[in-house]
Amino acid sequence: MRGKGVRLGLLFGVCALALTLSGSVGARTNHAAANTTLVFAGAADPTYLDPALVSDGESFRVTEQIFEGLVGIKPGTTSIRPALATSWKVAPDGKTYVFSLRHNVKFHDGTKFNAKAVCANFNRWYNFSGPFQDASATYYYQAIFGGFHHNESNTLSPPLYKSCAANGTYKVTIRTNRRNGPFLPALSLSAFAIQSPAAMAKYGANQGELRSGTFYPTGSYAFSHPTGTGPFKFGSWTVGQRIVLDRFSGYWGKKAKLSRVIIRPIANNEARLQALRTGEINGYDLVAPQDIGSINGDSKLKTLNRPPFNVAYVTINQAHSPFDKLAVRQAVAYGLDRASVVRSFYFGRAVVAQEFLPPQIFGWTNKVPKYPYNPNKSKQLLQSAGLSLPVKVDFWYPTGVSRPYMPNPALNFQAFSDSLEKSGFKVTPHTAPWRPDYVKHVNDGTAGDLNLIGWTGDYGDPDNFVGVFFGNYSPQFGFHNDAIFNILKRAQEEVNYKKRVKLYQQANIMIMKFLPAVPYAHSRPALAFQKTVKGYVPNPTGTDYFFPVYFGGQ
């Protein structure tokens, strides 16, 4: 008797549960319909929200909405546009920049944006000391500006920045110690955004220390009070859950159409896709290339393309014989079936790279020598170099990683090693976890004769690609070629745009003749959205603007 009662109760409970479940789902869709709140998923939480102290995409995704720099980038391109500066002039010496600033701009805390605020920011970076000189805190500052006012380590280079002077309220003169072409485009990086000096002082933005060996901001600024001039202001941050950004009604330009943006971290790409399908998010970044077909096949969803701004390549280490011989490197280039790899493993999301620069960036040229897959030519080249076949090659690939330019390294590796074996090589596979082992081995030049690696650009300058790779001797490639080093140095110091284009085109041709590595793919990453989300324009650099986004009919 009692047993039956329990069972009946259980049955009733289950029915009630099912009813409530279905009921509540109805309510969910209703309140999602009328909204001006966008929920967007990234892969992880930001590090923290002081843009000067971070270097990862997930942090910039948030800071880009809160802050603006003197210059920004034109949506969808890598070319710069006026932002907080309305115009600028470079003096003939190439070392003096005069910026005219936008009037009537206010920070989110109500303080005024002016020349003093600009200089306060430049001087803050320049005067960073102690823990702030840590490369993990100020990576981008060090990459562009070199060192600080007082370098506390002899590994830091002399500073590029010299001084900042306010001429009146809305004019600023910035002087540098040397000519530097990438300086202006680099100012579009979120890392050089202008922050409210008052808020930084109030919330301890310049407090930080090294704890257990890592930089950590001790003030509350970078966690709960980031204050800029951007179209959205900071709302709240619940670690692991969400970041809330609210529309800034005092914005100087066109106000954001969304009243609120919620950015949430979802680490797994399958989970991001499913959350998009259930409507728990409206869009997400870092779509896995193999999912794009099924997203486009869904009547409620769409994908957007991010212009390619990366390169995947096979390193050739010339410190290892016989790869110091040009003919052997050419044999490698002819022996890599790059077209098949791009066709089979990038799901139509990539083009075969013929040089290290992506085609969108200036300095790219079609006049470089090309190396289509040709196993017979490879074998001939190897024999002409006086080698007996097969030539042994130690080939490395990383595990535990997927990058936009290399979605599945093991697949690339297996296809490449098959094609090399058909071209007169005998491949010894070797692997290591991506970080720190693999990357360290590649950087140190200890990752075999050949290895798979790549690069995603930070800002729209060729120096950020070829200058980084081949501007100096590096153990990764193991070669000294003064002609290449010199032309890249000249191109970096040149501030005349047309001359720079010429120089980089020349450099690219020289590099592809010399073959320090074999580039094979520029991929187009994708974002996925519900079809009702409009106005989102993906930038090549990977950091996008939310202010033009709105909800519209399908």
């Binding site: 077909g293 590796f413 296809a415």
Partner: protein, 303 residues
């Protein structure tokens, strides 16, 4: 000789004839579940041994032309289980994969089981400070996440399949040790143990012929279940680059987890290795179950 001594000798005699184990064997081969389990396991063993004869293609033989569209074709007459992303025959890879996967399951669980059994029975039966020391050690091992612990071991031993087996085995040690110790503690105060002790049966004999058969069953069950997780864990470690350096090496766990990112594109890439793992683990479980029943003294003689 007193009566008690006589009895003790008798009990010992009975225990040392090995009757328990031969009896158990007799039970196992009469258990239909165990026979079915043995059949599954044998099938895969045969597949593993004769893979080169049975498999229509080589395990590493790929054809990129088959996947030129980016979408690997599913099962067909040419490729019973379809082809993978590199254009390799999945059926052939499953057959060859049986070699490493079965070995990993068996070897790693055997390592964990044997060390765990020794430590657990020492701790459980001897007790005292030895028990404390062993169990605190086990606690420390348990406090470290299994995967991290395994990574550490493999990192020290150099990457490779054998090293992975050792690592997974070691990680399992505290689980088996704890389980056995608990069961022994429960049996230690049982009437029949007290009786045996009272009549002066040697400690070792009590442990092996009286306590063990009663205490072992949870360990056998846990052991056969651990076989499945071991095969999957290999995949995790291989993914980290701690497995065999040649990514083409066929192995079920890696095939299954590798298909994770392509579930929407080609679900069969996950299904076939998944089914292979389930069937082989099922096989081991059925055998384990039969063994468990056979070893159970209370069920003995009740055929």
């Amino acid at each position: 000789m007193s009566v008690a001594e006589l009895e003790a000798a008798e009990i010992q005699l009975e225990a040392s004839t090995g009757g328990l184990w031969s009896d158990a064997w007799y039970q196992v081969i009469r258990n239909p579940g165990a026979i079915l389990g043995a059949f599954f396991v044998l099938t895969f063993l045969v597949a593993a041994i004769f893979a080169p004869v049975i498999a229509p293609y080589g395990p590493k033989e790929g054809n990129l032309l088959l996947v030129a569209t980016g979408k690997p074709p599913g099962p067909s007459w040419h490729h019973l289980f379809g082809v993978d992303l590199l254009g390799r025959d999945v059926f052939s890879r499953i057959l060859y994969g049986a070699r490493d996967s079965l070995m990993v399951g068996i070897v790693s669980v055997s390592i964990g089981l044997s060390i765990g059994l020794v430590l657990g029975s020492i701790a459980g039966y001897i007790g005292g400070w030895i028990d404390s020391v062993i169990m605190r050690l086990m606690d420390i091992m348990l406090a470290i996440p299994g995967l991290l612990f395994a990574i550490g071991i493999v990192a020290m031993l150099q990457p490779g399949l054998y090293q992975i087996m050792i690592a997974i085995g070691v990680v399992n040690v505290p689980i088996f040790a704890r389980l056995l110790r608990g069961a022994i503690l429960a049996q230690r105060e049982n009437d029949f143990v007290l009786a045996a002790r009272a009549v002066g049966v040697k400690r070792r004999a009590i442990l092996f012929s009286h306590i063990m058969p009663n205490a072992i069953s949870p360990v056998i069950v846990a052991g056969t279940l651990a076989m499945g997780t071991a095969i999957i864990d290999v995949a995790g470690l291989t993914f980290l680059g701690l497995g065999p350096p040649d990514p083409a090496t066929p192995e079920w766990g890696t095939m299954l987890t590798g298909a994770n990112d392509y579930l929407e594109l080609a679900p069969f890439l996950a299904i076939f290795p998944g089914v292979a793992i389930i069937i082989s683990v099922l096989g081991f479980n059925l055998i384990g179950d039969g063994l468990r029943e056979a070893l159970d003294p209370k069920m003995r003689g009740r055929a």
